[in-house]
């Protein structure tokens, strides 16, 4: 049964990718894309229900493994991928209308979009640390041509940077995986089971600590490049700013999470083997650095998508920090923050995408009076900004509050850094968004109605998570946090 559900979850996007590779040039390709994403979402919901009922399960000869932790990411990924596909339908049509995209480019976009979803879902659900690597690399490969979709010099440069940096990063992660296997095969023996996370987790106490230490450094640096941890982040703002907005939304909202999930899985193994907090400390260090550097960089930004890309680095730093602290509360908070950040950040990118289309530029100095031309886009951006800055009653406030209070308890010296960074980020983003939404403008209306349902749906969810946490959801998160220790 679990096999079938999992197969449905993975095969639908793969099949969708194939279909869109054939029919991607048809006028109804956008609808087909949304339909496929919707089916994936339904499959993920079915799988989630089952895992919550029956607990962690392995499938396909233990090659896949679903527990409360990754199934929550699966559901989140499928949901955001679905809403993004809804958003991209009118967005891409407007881009086409403006002459920025051709039919052939859209064809590529649709099929790669589905394959990207597939790669992320494989990376999340697989039990094999080697396959995690393969899927992560596949996720890079499917998005790299999307970043350069516009074929402008800037977008090519961004894509090249993304490709090379993530290629190098992911190669280091492969070296880490090899070292992990090197340590594991001495305990688990040659062959297929030595890279299975569940098996590794059982014997983590016997794995050679020196090797695992080195392995974790490589894994963290490798996957950390993908997460956008400072100092390996330089691809991220470029790729987000120069790629099409739906791609920015899924990169920020989903891919970073998936990479972080791989790091968290490795951290569980390594700290279990070392019996210390080595991996956690490293993650905390990288997390704090990313948070601080990203917050300081926010002030200098002039491009709106770049600014929110830096905000993603900041939040990923915070989440990495939370997972690095470990413990039930911090992990719970980290997962909650992952959820609300994904939802909020994608909603912001949706709103930003339409705002940019209206203004015809990504330069914040030239975007003015959004509330006047399109109250919905304007309010979407305002509310999204409030949410991402951690204003109550949005969910981001709850998770940030939890993270900061836990840090005060466990590592008091980090509190000033956290608070200062969050304060700086608040000032920077708020100061730049405020003039964009108010004021006068002469922008023309868009040729297609903007897709604002996803924006408000996401923000509504974040609001709900902020004011009322459903009991089963918090149970679920608590179980997942317990699994990660």
């Amino acid at each position: 049964m679990i096999d079938l559900q999992l197969m449905a979850l993975l095969l639908i996007p793969l099949f969708g990718g194939g279909m869109l590779a054939v029919f991607g040039a048809r006028p109804w390709a956008a609808e087909l894309n949304s339909l496929m994403s919707f089916c994936t979402f339904v499959a993920s919901v079915a799988l989630t229900m089952r895992v919550i009922d029956a607990g962690p399960q392995a499938a396909f000869n233990e090659q896949f493994f679903i527990d409360q932790f990754n199934v929550y990411l699966v559901a989140l990924t499928a949901f955001v991928a679905f809403t993004t596909s809804l958003f991209s339908r009118p967005y891409m049509r407007i881009e086409q209308h403006h002459g920025k995209l051709s039919v052939g480019m859209l064809h590529l976009y649709y099929s790669m979009y589905q394959l990207f979803t597939f790669a992320m879902l494989v990376a999340l659900t697989t039990n094999n640390m080697g396959i995690v690597w393969v899927a992560m690399e596949a996720a890079t490969l499917t998005t790299v041509l999307l970043v350069s979709l516009y074929r402008t010099p800037a977008s090519l440069e961004a894509a090249w940077k993304y490709f090379i940096l993530c290629g190098v990063g992911i190669a280091l992660a492969l070296f880490g995986t090899i070292l992990l296997y090197f340590a594991a095969e001495r305990v688990l023996g040659q062959g297929g089971t030595a890279l299975l996370w569940t098996h590794l987790n059982e014997v983590k106490g016997e794995l050679e600590p020196t090797v695992l230490k080195l392995a974790f450094i490589f894994l963290l640096v490798g996957y950390g490049t993908k997460i956008g941890l400072v100092p390996l982040h330089s691809w991220l703002p470029d790729a987000h700013a120069e790629g099409p907005t739906p791609v920015s939304a899924v990169l920020s909202g989903l891919l970073l999470n998936v990479a972080l999930c791989a790091v968290v899985r490795s951290k569980v193994l390594v700290d279990g083997s070392l019996g210390s907090h080595f991996a956690g400390n490293l993650m905390m260090g990288f997390g704090l650095l990313s948070l601080l550097v990203a917050a300081l960089s926010l002030f200098r930004q002039k491009d709106i998508k770049r600014m929110f890309a830096y905000s993603s680095i900041e939040h990923m730093g915070l989440i990495t920090f939370a997972f690095g602290m470990g413990g039930a509360v911090a992990t719970y908070a980290g997962m909650l923050h992952m959820t609300v950040h994904s939802l909020t950040k994608s909603a912001i990118f949706f709103a930003v995408g339409h705002a940019v289309q209206k203004a015809g530029t990504q330069q914040m100095d030239n975007i003015r009076g959004l509330l006047q031309v399109s109250p919905t886009v304007g309010w979407g951006l305002v509310l999204g900004t409030f949410a991402i800055l951690g204003m109550p009653p949005f969910g981001v406030f709850a998770s940030e509050f939890l993270i900061v209070t836990t840090a005060m308890h466990e590592y008091p010296w980090t509190t000033p850094i956290l608070l200062i960074s969050l304060g700086i980020a608040f000032a920077a983003i708020f100061g730049k968004v405020q003039p964009m939404v108010f004021g006068e403008t002469t922008a023309k209306p868009l040729p297609h109605p903007p897709a604002l349902v996803p924006v408000f749906l996401h923000l509504l969810l974040v609001l709900i998570l902020g004011v009322y946490m459903p009991a089963y959801l918090s149970d679920w998160y608590r179980q997942a946090a317990a699994l990660l220790g």
Binding site: N128, W133, V134, E137, V168, A171, L174, Y181, T210, A241
Partner: protein, 220 residues
Amino acid sequence: MASNYASQFVNLLAALLLLVVFAMLAQRRILSMINLFAWQGLLLAVSTFIVAYSTAQHHLYYSAGLTLVLKVLLLPWLLHRLMRKLNVRWDVETLINIPTTMLVGIALVIFAFNLAAPISQLAEGITRGLIGIALASVLLSLLMMLTRRKAVTQVVAFLALENSLFFAATSATHGMPLVVEFGIALDVLVATFIFGIFFFQIRETFDSLDITHMEKLKDD
């Protein structure tokens, strides 16, 4: 006795692999770099084959075959074809001059060997020390990526990096599970194709394959 010779031979191949990476680092011509890359692939295939033979692991034969086809024949051929199509014949321009690069390279090797020394103590038989060599090759390939200006050489460096990793996977750990290896091989192949697409896009847009044109994106 046979496995003793096998391990000595693999050690020799590992040393030669490192030598080839150094040769690539010192190389000024793109075509020679591609040829060296093919040699590296050949060394890799032979060492994988020997490990397969001496440890009687049949799936490594497939890896060796795959390496031979993919990295000795297909990729160099593709790169040569690309070079012809793009008409790239210039010398490689480096950001740092070559002797300095070499010195940095030696420092990296020492660093890598130091890092791997505790692991070498753990490993027995055939794999002793190979992790260190693989790590050194990985770092040298990274150095190569950093110091080269042309897109094509960066890609060759990237592939050399992949080769070093593959060497670590097959020789030092006696091969990852086959599905992982196939996955990796597939990714490398796709990556090379995407690189190819990029070459054309970059040249179309910038009229050159020099990546110094692509340093415009800044924070302000």
